[in-house]
Symmetry: C2
Subunit: 285 residues, 2 copies
């Protein structure tokens, strides 16, 4: 789905880190970097929707991804403008029409993930049921390539000290898009916004996160059309249930040569088994 050719997009950028003076355990003073945290109030057709606390790396993509994942915008061509102004810490989004049920949607908000009971949950699960994800196969060697590429990326871009970083990668080991933010869901929403805006095919991509694979992370990856999940951390029960339901290959606790496959195990081709470690030094999980 193409963007509206008249789409107006700002490119609001603000510093991501600041320096402060701190005292260490020796009583010595030194400089320390702090990640910025900026309140960004989102207006949809002049209606105040929410305030997102963000590092501020890519506010236009964040706001678009948020609106999309909340079901507040359906088609990319309906998007007319995203104007972010850090001076007033606001993002004004203009679309061709406002959803009819906006007030109702806004009155029922779920905190801490996009999944819950009641109307919000009901709607979310309905939208998920329509999703068909592509069950392609990944190779173990590709997983190792990816982890290496992500390591290198982290080394290069260790500026703000990622609380939560996530990325969209190709199966052949390329980090297409990386995002870090104060909150995990902001980071994912930003990736979703970028993918959508740039018309990137997502069916054959891998979603990576440093954080745990919760229901929210799994849902958002699925909403992006991605069927392979990779995490350094673990997963929650609900995250796994959803991955199974949606047909997603979930690899977690991935570090170095180690990983665990929680679902769709038959979609991972074990073509690069590492030498087994001697029992005495076996990694405690």
């Amino acid at each position: 789905m193409p963007r509206n050719p008249q789409l107006v997009l700002s490119q609001a950028r603000a510093p991501l880190t600041r320096i402060t003076q701190v005292m260490d355990e020796q009583g010595e003073w030194r400089e320390q970097a702090l990640a910025c945290e900026r309140p960004l109030t989102l207006y949809l057709n002049k209606r105040e929707i929410v305030t997102l606390m963000t590092l501020g790396e890519d506010p236009e993509a964040l706001v678009l991804g948020y609106l999309r994942n909340q079901g507040l915008i359906e088609r990319l061509e309906d998007l007319l403008a995203i104007q972010v102004d850090w001076d007033v810490e606001a993002a004004a989004v203009v679309t061709t029409h406002t959803p009819d049920d906006l007030e109702e949607t806004l009155s029922k908000r779920t905190v801490t993930t996009g999944c819950g009971q009641g109307t919000v949950f009901g709607n979310q699960m309905e939208r998920l049921r329509g999703l068909t994800l592509a069950p392609w196969h990944l190779k173990q060697s590709q997983v190792y390539q990816l982890l290496e590429a992500l390591n290198q990326h982290n080394e290069t871009y260790r500026n703000a000290g990622a609380v939560h970083g996530c990325a969209i990668c190709t199966a052949t080991g390329e980090v297409l898009s990386f995002c870090e933010d104060i909150g995990r869901h902001n980071a994912v929403d930003t990736l979703a916004g970028r993918l959508w805006l740039n018309g990137i095919e997502s069916e054959d991509k891998v979603f990576y996160t440093t954080g745990r694979l919760t229901s929210e992370m799994v849902i958002k990856a699925a909403q992006m059309g991605i069927s392979v999940l990779l995490s350094r951390s673990g997963a929650t029960e609900m995250g796994l249930q959803l991955a199974n339901m949606l047909g997603m290959l979930m690899l977690a606790r991935a570090k170095g040569r180690h990983f665990l496959v929680y679902s769709d195990q038959d979609r991972l081709t074990l073509d690069a088994r590492p030498d087994p470690m001697p029992r005495s030094s076996k990694r405690r999980d």
Copy 2:
């Protein structure tokens, strides 16, 4: 402020972890624990408020802390009942009266922290301005005692694999209350609920978190009346600004003998400086 003597409180408990079968990099299958993630829909006087995704460790305290931190309940004696039923994944809270501006409050929700612009921010900052925190002094030796006590606590209770753990501790090295949850703000809200319910004096306590000291964490600790913050991770710029404004002693990046003091440095007595490390092995921050 005492609780209402007729307060009805459930003690709903559900398993915190589940076991699943996973495949590792050798193609071998084994059991792996997953943290549970349960949607808990909160009703205040029969009005649906929000759905919180939680590990489920202490739902009554979570729900109370949430309501308090959102300004939806002012006095403990107004609380008549909290009934959590995991079968229907719901928490019914009954208070003596519903806030007049409930609909307005609910229509403006901030995601990812409790701080933002607009009406929510305005109200939040107003409530914070009224806060006076006690500027007591902490000793470096006490910091080390605390970190040791927290380490031991982690060792003993490493069940669900804390995503975000936080604790209320005494200055003399006792972990009074520890909480872990899927989301950081849920963990803090739960602690707030427990403190309030049990009438625990908080002025002289230390708030500890494994996560970063964001604006939200700082605000919630302040709302609990706590003026000393301790974190294993870093801080955000806004978190620090708020700590300065509210008069809080903030120690972060605390591990082993190392820490950094970001604010109110004169309130930390350096009575246990470690031997300085030789330059070649100086810890890279």
